[in-house]
């Protein structure tokens, strides 16, 4: 087990290093002039563009530039993000908690409903629930999340006014940021609201997250339903399930205790895929619902060619993704001893 985790951990810095090379290589598609323009803060400086190129070493050989860029990154200095109007590292710190909170709230309904529907479909194979879930999974995978998101926005904000965009309503926002009575503990708005005993802010934050959640939950759930179903079907054929039934155990006990526990093992691997999917999905969902998370910022930075912003965003997402995959692998090996032997 330790050896397995150690091996996985060793790959981590290697991948991180590779990611910096990839991003640096991408940045080389910009001319030195274009990259120099990023250091300009005043129109009067346009006359000194050659000076800027020299000052920041943008005309140096590639490996020299890469090395100095890497040193800069190692100090946590990603540069000034124009779209966030703050330093990129600060911007990540400011935006990520909102996205993390959103992702956590998406996970819960996806896992619960996905497992429930997948189990139901497997147990009642070839019955109505099964056909329904298959139809559901197939058609949802074709649903473009941004189109669905816009429809959710139209229905639940434009028409019903239930789930407004943004992160907080005006009063709640003023109370949180200006009144001085609201203490920040975790930066997760709902948790902080409860810790402060402000239940209305908790509800308000939840209401603002409902739109993006509804958008991505439906799209991402399809995969989970499918995997749970096929994994359950496989487990239900096993000898120990037959033994359990032969012993005269209650069918519910057989399904919940003997079958589903084992069927859950591959689902754990899936959670890392789900996590990656959600991190990509929030770029669209946050943009549509104007939710101030890291995805919306990344998309804005990309559209406005805020290079420090894009770079920081990409690096950060890559690291989070790799860590997420690693966590899933380790969890998987911990749950299933057979994996460690391979």
């Amino acid at each position: 087990m330790t050896a397995y985790v150690a091996r996985r951990l060793l790959i981590l810095p290697l991948v991180a290093f590779g990611v910096t090379i990839l991003i640096f290589a991408l940045l080389q598609f910009l001319t030195p002039e274009e990259r120099a323009a990023l250091f300009i803060t005043d129109p009067r400086q346009f006359g000194q563009i050659q000076g800027i190129i020299r000052k920041y070493g943008l005309d140096q050989p590639v490996h020299v530039q890469y090395w100095s860029w890497l040193k800069q990154l190692a100090h946590g200095d990603f540069g000034w993000s124009q779209t966030a109007r703050m330093r990129t590292a600060e911007a990540i710190g400011a935006f990520f908690p909102a996205t993390l909170e959103l992702t956590i709230y998406m996970f819960i309904p996806i896992i619960l409903t996905g497992l429930w529907l997948g189990t139901k479909a497997a147990v009642h194979k070839d019955r109505f629930v099964d056909h329904f879930s298959r139809f559901f999974a197939i058609s949802l995978r074709g649903l473009p999340s941004f189109v669905w998101g816009l429809i959710v926005l139209m229905i639940f904000y434009g028409w019903l006014n239930w789930f407004p965009p943004g992160r907080l309503s005006l009063e709640a926002d003023q109370f949180v940021h200006l009144s001085g009575e609201f203490r920040v503990y975790t930066r997760l708005m709902t948790v902080d609201a409860l810790l402060n005993g402000q239940f209305w802010i908790f509800l308000d934050a939840l209401r603002h997250m409902a739109g993006p959640i509804l958008t991505l939950v439906l799209v991402e759930m399809a995969l989970l339903v499918r995997i749970t179903r096929s994994s359950m079907l496989e487990v239900l054929r096993q000898d120990y399930v037959r033994t359990a039934r032969a012993k005269g155990l209650d069918e519910d006990v057989v399904i919940m205790k003997h079958a589903r526990r084992n069927a859950l093992i591959p689902v754990i691997t899936l959670t890392s895929l789900l996590f990656v999917g959600l991190l990509g999905g929030v770029v669209l969902a946050e943009t549509i619902f104007n939710f101030p998370g890291i995805g919306k910022w990344g998309a804005e930075a990309a559209v406005q060619l805020d290079v420090p912003g894009v770079t920081g965003f990409a690096m950060f997402i890559a690291i989070v993704t790799v860590l997420g995959n690693l966590a899933a692998d380790v969890l998987y090996a911990a749950v299933d001893p057979r994996i460690r032997l391979q």
Binding site: F29, M154, I227
Partner: protein
């Protein structure tokens, strides 16, 4: 268990071991189906005669894409084997096949269905009447309404079909080419090459696909060509890993051993014995990928990173009305047509490819049969 579960999402030669059991024989497609031959000839005729070419072709890549799709699908459909026999009995695959065929027909007949205004330089630029900022509902002359700044939705959707096929085919082709070369190098030679190639795929897989595509298009700049490059960069590691895993399992088979004993070289073994055995799983992934690529391209266009403004592209159509989506107070659905029509088209396109991919996979992998 774990290995084939992973294959669903994004990974290596997982389900291949099962596929081997079904398809364990080295063979190439011997019979060229007459229908695809006919279409191929028709395509060549169009390409050669200048009058027709002027009217129909418009974009050389489109013709290529069109021919590839037609030949691939018709070819796969018509290959005589129990595999395709089952495919033709499966209602899911029939539905998917019908949807894709309809899209192909629409793409081919675009100049007839939505004739470009005479004298336009580029029919892919959607014509627009005036510059009124807000979308206008369906009316005579504009059967599906117009987007913000008056681009015609119907025209955009029809010509966007060609764009969608072009993007999907070009990206799949680049991804497969890259994946084929790197994957076979890694799988066949193993050792250090394998390690290097696999670590490179690790780097590319460290990003959610959309995020990497966003970053690449941001750096390369707007435009459909850049979108295609970006999505291909995201897509190739999947194929490379798939092929590598496959080769690892094929490499030790008796027929490879036999070929080697008869003095066949590496290249001959790879091209004659290993790759033909990997082609069916590749088709499955490619079919799914066709839909996913169009989905990602549409998402990029929606974010404002895709095609230029006014280019016939489904995501673009939605982007052009983005600030009007919410309607007016009291009537949230005032501009419904700007989202619903392009949305339905994207949905159907992706659904069609998913159904085809599902059907292929169901048939190829008995263990997954009926698991959607």
């Amino acid at each position: 268990m774990r290995r084939w579960i992973r294959a669903f999402g994004s990974s290596d030669g997982a389900r291949m071991s099962t596929l081997r059991a079904v398809l364990d024989r080295t063979r190439t497609i011997r019979v060229v189906p007459p229908i695809s031959l006919l279409i191929l000839l028709l395509g060549l005729a169009v390409f050669v005669s200048p009058g027709l070419r002027e009217r129909i072709v418009r974009h050389p890549l489109d013709v290529g894409a069109f021919l590839v799709v037609v030949v691939a699908i018709a070819g796969f459909w018509a290959v005589p084997s129990d595999l395709t026999k089952r495919l033709r009995r499966n209602p899911l695959s029939i539905t998917g096949f019908t949807i894709i065929t309809l899209f192909i027909i629409v793409a081919a007949l675009a100049p007839v269905l939505a004739p470009p205004t005479p004298g336009t330089r580029d029919p892919y630029l959607i014509p627009h009447e005036g510059f009124a900022p807000d979308p206008l509902p369906p009316r005579p002359g504009h059967p599906l309404g117009t987007t913000g700044r008056q681009y015609d939705l119907y025209y955009g959707i029809i010509w966007g079909t060609r764009t969608a096929f072009r993007v999907a085919v070009v990206v799949v082709a680049i991804s497969i080419a890259l994946g084929l070369v790197l994957g076979s190098l890694a799988g066949f030679y193993g050792g250090r090459i394998d390690e290097v190639v696999m670590r490179i795929t690790d780097i590319f897989l460290a990003f959610p696909g959309l995020v990497l595509a966003v970053v690449v298009t941001a750096v390369l700049g707007k435009g459909l060509d850049h979108v295609m490059i970006a999505i291909a960069l995201v897509g190739w590691p999947l194929y490379a890993r798939l092929l590598r895993g496959d080769i690892l399992s094929v490499k030790q088979r008796d027929y490879v051993e036999a070929a080697r004993a008869m003095g066949a070289g590496d290249l001959r073994i790879i091209f004659r014995h290993v790759i033909p055995n990997a082609i069916y799983p590749f088709m499955v992934v490619a079919a799914f990928d066709m839909g996913v690529i169009v989905l990602v391209a549409a998402a990029l266009s929606f974010l404002g990173l895709g095609a230029e403004i006014g280019y016939a592209d489904w995501g673009q159509l939605i982007n052009m009305s983005r600030s009007w989506i919410l309607g007016v107070p009291g009537n949230a659905f005032l501009y419904w047509y700007t989202v619903v029509f392009p949305g339905i088209v994207i949905f159907l396109f992706v659904l069609g490819w998913n159904l085809l991919g599902d059907a292929f996979r169901d048939i190829l992998d008995p263990r997954l049969r009926g698991s959607t």
